[in-house]
Symmetry: C2
Subunit: 365 residues, 2 copies
């Protein structure tokens, strides 16, 4: 049995709850080793206090699940069958009636909760989210190793992207180039849609790459990540093509100072809010506070955005083994958009970053 | 005001409900014209019976939303702010206390529902999902035109994929080739992760492309789609590389007959279940019933999987303007995996398919 599944089963015993219904695909993968994207179909993992767990999958995935590393029962359902009555039947067979069911309130829809209520009349729900969050928070050595690999691939992606910068090239052509080269090298998935934003487009922190062509003296912002063996990376670099304005260069160096100061402060015991404040104060004192309009960072692991938020006022205490991003940015419409992001894992007395692409102001000519 | 938003507002009047909370990004885009992927942040559209609607977005997207075609208020929230109390404040400002709030039960998580309950004590929830489903079901001419374009791009993607088939090429290299060429031509997103499955891998209906190399006499299955101006396509073709077994060829022709018979039967008035039965009977009579382990098809539009399911026992009546897939398949481990899929729109007396890549048994040499 996977270690994390054992922890979950022990939690049921400690809390004296009977069963857990997990339906977030990343959580199913974390606890079962079986990774899949079922779209609107039901993929679920049922975990019990005293009896063996089972996987519940669309029939068309059943063979894949049986061939995975999962060693317990796999139940399948055909599209025209009612998955909820099949689940309820299988649960009742194993443990009889159910009074308390733990669910993922962050990942269960109201419709699905109501289906469970119909099948288990009178059941009360408790939330397993905090438990799963705290388990996923501190990564094992094995998980960190995968994230180190994902970081190496992210550096590789940036290298490909920097080489593709040329006057007149469209943002989306650079995206295509990066993903093509990585896929040819065996990478199946990016952590999210690769962003390459140039000039004014980069001044939107969540901009969408399009047909804008790179012009001389643009700043070019890359925000990307690679999935390696189920684990994600996430990195942002902003580089100069030619000679952007002095103002743009000034903004770059403020963001860089904020990034470096926050990373230097990461160690067990510091709070998420303190880290955010270190970076934010630098930006605010330089006069750009209002242009840093997002949190400093976020946890990551199997998902590219995980608990916790590294943000203002969050007194969550950083622990060894946590992995998160540090990504200050300044976005001034018509002037410049700069973000510099690294992800890292917390060590006994500091941290190690996953990405090593240089952060000194880099000019591509 | 967008036509569909007006319809939704009229529905509130007819049903005498006060407000709707929409948070599915595709639904927000459908009703507001503002498309975004906020990840775990809150993106919401609030619609009222008598007063103007507003968009609620992460602060880092506010400028993008203001620059979009949306003509009403845009409210932003910073990461460290409580979005729920901001939403509640804005709602109360507009309409005072709330007694009934319509929500998307299929797309709202339990956590978010509980947040709304906290902000609006005593509120009761009703489900707007059926109304939205019925609105999205029948496409306008403009929507169908976009889906025709998405179909043309899907045909183009297949053409690129077929050209990339060579002995020894890995599945994921072909995926890379297809997406690279399309991105260079300006396509930003595929409808879902492109599937290229060869030989035994194709015998899993939801297989994941990997490092398997194409071998002489393989069947090669392509399942892919392209997003054009927010609307999706979805097509599957299975082609022969060399001379697959007679059994494989036999399976191909059974699936083809099922695909063609079901498409020929599509017209207003037929039920989803009848269409499924037409295809399924052909496959069952040929002795492969148990190897066709999924529904015949699904609706599509902005999302690649939409209401309704074209499946056994579904007495949903097909209407003019509906768009859905017809995708029978047979998957016999160690023998062959074949699926042939077209998406179509229903006309006054039949249907038109969106994809035109030939379906005759095609050998690539």
């Amino acid at each position: 049995m996977l270690k994390q599944l054992e922890v979950l089963q022990n939690w049921l015993k400690e809390e004296n709850k009977e069963a857990i219904f997990i339906n977030d695909p990343d959580n199913v993968a974390y606890f079962s080793g079986y990774q899949s994207e079922p779209h609107e179909r039901i993929l679920a993992l049922l975990v019990f206090k005293d009896v063996s767990p089972f996987l519940f999958v669309p029939a068309l995935e059943k063979e894949d699940a049986l061939n995975s590393t999962w060693e317990y029962d796999v139940l399948g359902y055909l599209d025209h069958e009612n998955p909820w009555s099949l689940i309820s039947h299988a649960v009742k067979q194993r443990i009889g009636d159910l009074t308390i069911l733990a669910i993922e309130k962050d990942f269960l829809t109201v419709t699905r909760m109501e289906q469970l209520q119909t099948e288990f009349p009178g059941v009360s729900f408790s939330d397993v989210t905090p438990k799963i969050q705290s388990m996923k928070l501190v990564k094992t050595k094995d998980e960190i190793q995968k994230m180190i690999e994902a970081g190496i691939w992210a550096d590789k992606a940036l290298e490909i992207g920097f080489k593709a910068i040329k006057e007149g090239v469209q943002e989306q052509e650079i995206v295509a180039e990066i993903e093509y080269e990585l896929k040819k090298m065996g990478i199946k998935n990016m952590s999210f849609e690769t962003m390459v934003l140039t000039g004014d487009n980069a001044a939107s922190p969540h901009g969408v790459p399009g047909s804008r062509c790179i012009q001389k003296n643009d700043l070019v912002l890359f925000d990307l990540g690679v999935v390696y063996d189920g684990y994600t990376s996430d990195v942002t670099r902003t580089v100069a093509f030619g000679e952007p304005s002095e103002k743009a260069k000034e903004i770059y160096h403020i963001v860089l100072r904020a990034n470096e100061a926050a990373i230097a402060a990461v160690k067990p015991g510091v709070t998420a809010g303190e880290l955010d404040k270190i970076a934010r104060d630098i930006i605010t004192e330089a006069g750009y506070g209002e242009y840093f309009n997002h949190r400093l960072g976020h946890g990551l692991g199997r998902s590219v955005h995980e608990f916790p938020s590294i943000m203002e006022g969050n007194d969550f205490v950083v622990q060894e083994g946590m992995c998160f991003s540090i990504e200050p940015g300044i976005y001034v419409s018509g002037v410049a958009g700069v973000r510099i992001e690294d992800c890292l894992y917390v060590t006994a007395d500091g941290c190690e970053v996953f990405t090593h692409t240089p952060k000194t102001y880099t000019t591509i000519s």
